[in-house]
């Protein structure tokens, strides 16, 4: 499986259980890359809106997708498109993480995103 992430914690310390593709970019940029890969036949393995921290609060997002490709998975596409719409909806409101651009806060956002996706990686690895 492949982890698409902009979380610096994975850049520094990739999880050996998956291929990590780190990208610099926004939360939304990560969603768009994942959407494009779904169009190329990858399957979504974790929910793109993991966590109750809102898309205009945290700058970090990590999403698991399948390594293998097949025909277009419509369920995956539906979930990622809905997630992009939800992200855009939140972006109309004041974007908080610009203001929250303090090292301690960024570290917390990074830790939460990391903690949540680690659980998904563990679930996926046990199969």
């Amino acid at each position: 499986m492949i982890l698409i992430t902009n979380n610096p914690k994975f850049q520094k310390d990739p999880d050996p259980r998956c291929d990590t593709e780190y990208m610099a970019g926004s939360y939304r940029d990560v969603l768009i890359v994942v959407r494009d890969m779904i169009h190329q036949g990858h399957k979504l393995l974790s929910h793109p809106l993991s966590g109750s921290v809102k898309p205009n609060e945290t700058p970090y997002k990590s999403i698991l997708i399948s390594k293998s490709t097949g025909s277009l998975d419509v369920d995956s596409l539906q979930i990622i498109e809905d997630s992009i719409s939800t992200c855009d909806k939140f972006m109309k409101n004041p974007v908080k993480y610009g203001y929250n651009n303090q090292d301690a806060l960024l570290a917390d956002f990074s830790e939460i995103d990391h903690g949540l996706i680690e659980v998904a990686i563990a679930s996926a690895s046990s199969r």
Binding site: L49, S52, I79, T86, K92, N100, Q102, E111
Partner: protein, 426 residues
Amino acid sequence: MKLELGNIFIHDIQFDRLSRVEKGIIYINEEELKAHLLEDENIRSVSCDIAKPGESVRIMPVKDVIEPRVKVEGEGGVFPGILSKVDTVGSGRTNVLKGAAVVTTGKIVGFQEGIVDMSGPGADYTPFSKLNNLVVICEPIEGLKQHAHEKALRFAGLKAATYLGQLAKDLEADEVESFETLSLIEGIRQYPDLPRVAYVQMLQTQGLLHDTYVYGVDMKQSLTTMLYPTELMDGAIISGNCVSACDKNTTYHHLNNPVVRDLYAKHGKELNFVGMIITNENVYLADKERSSDWSAKLAEFLGVDGVIISQEGFGNPDTDLIMNCKKIEAKGIKTVIITDEYAGRDGASQSLADADASADAVVTGGNANMVVNLPPMEKVIGHVKVADTIAGGFDGSLRPDGSIVVELQAITGATNELGFNRLSAR
């Protein structure tokens, strides 16, 4: 399984030399309670405060709210698998300090969570403004990681509530309520002509700071399962969920689950309340598929005509909600879902991140994006500076005069997805 709740009505709470409950007043020996909580080596300091209805007091950031209860008859003790042994609870009698709560506050991460105003317009949005609250403020030891900090606070709240609950062990209740769920076969025979209804409760289980525990088990590790609804009333489910104040279920919500209460109230009259199914909201999509398959399978096995499904949280759980709804409807069982909305500040955007045509009966707890203006309070318990960095807050949320402009999502319990709200559109 039958449980009696012995309610002891509380109208005041005070510090005193001897901890006790007398004539509806809780007296607390603060030093004794603090010493009890400081037994946790991860807690550096504890202070306590009191917040009563109508006072000019703001509590923030609120982590959990817990109602003090104590088992007086029957098997087990409150918060089984956590503070008591894992014995099955939900039968016998439990005394409740009704009208009181323990509120924990602590800054686990930078952007935390949760406002409770005891008066003013903000008080209308949270049920906890109507309670006599003992606020427990814990500071962790230096360098404690977030997950350990959350656990320390979670246990401090439960221990403080249990300490207060113990004061009610030998008291005579002002009111006794009774709740009973029969075995499946007895239940069918009891009300053969009424529609059979079950409750499917979805629990927040995404991981770090987004967890719920059932008999001490981390619910994300569990398959979908069943409980007698009275088990909730003895603390079988507790909250370890720290994110999204407006729509997280505190431990108080679990103890007083309004869906359970209302279904019991209609049991034998309009419907036959069969029992409840609990399921999780994991991040891994295959976990979602499995858990929702099991919700549908158990609902079918119970032979129900309808279910009520409640959600907890935003985004990821929307998908679990729709999967549960769709799969249960596909079994020929009617569903009603309870959720809340992130519909934008103008309320015009799509409310949920997922949808299906079978989700055609929906109850909403409100729009969490709605902006509210909370006037300054004379006293703030906790950390006022978190206002700018609180969920639902933004740069400039905290005004120079101490007022706060925030989205409703900053207020603890404001859009609760069990329907435990004070305001309605009716």
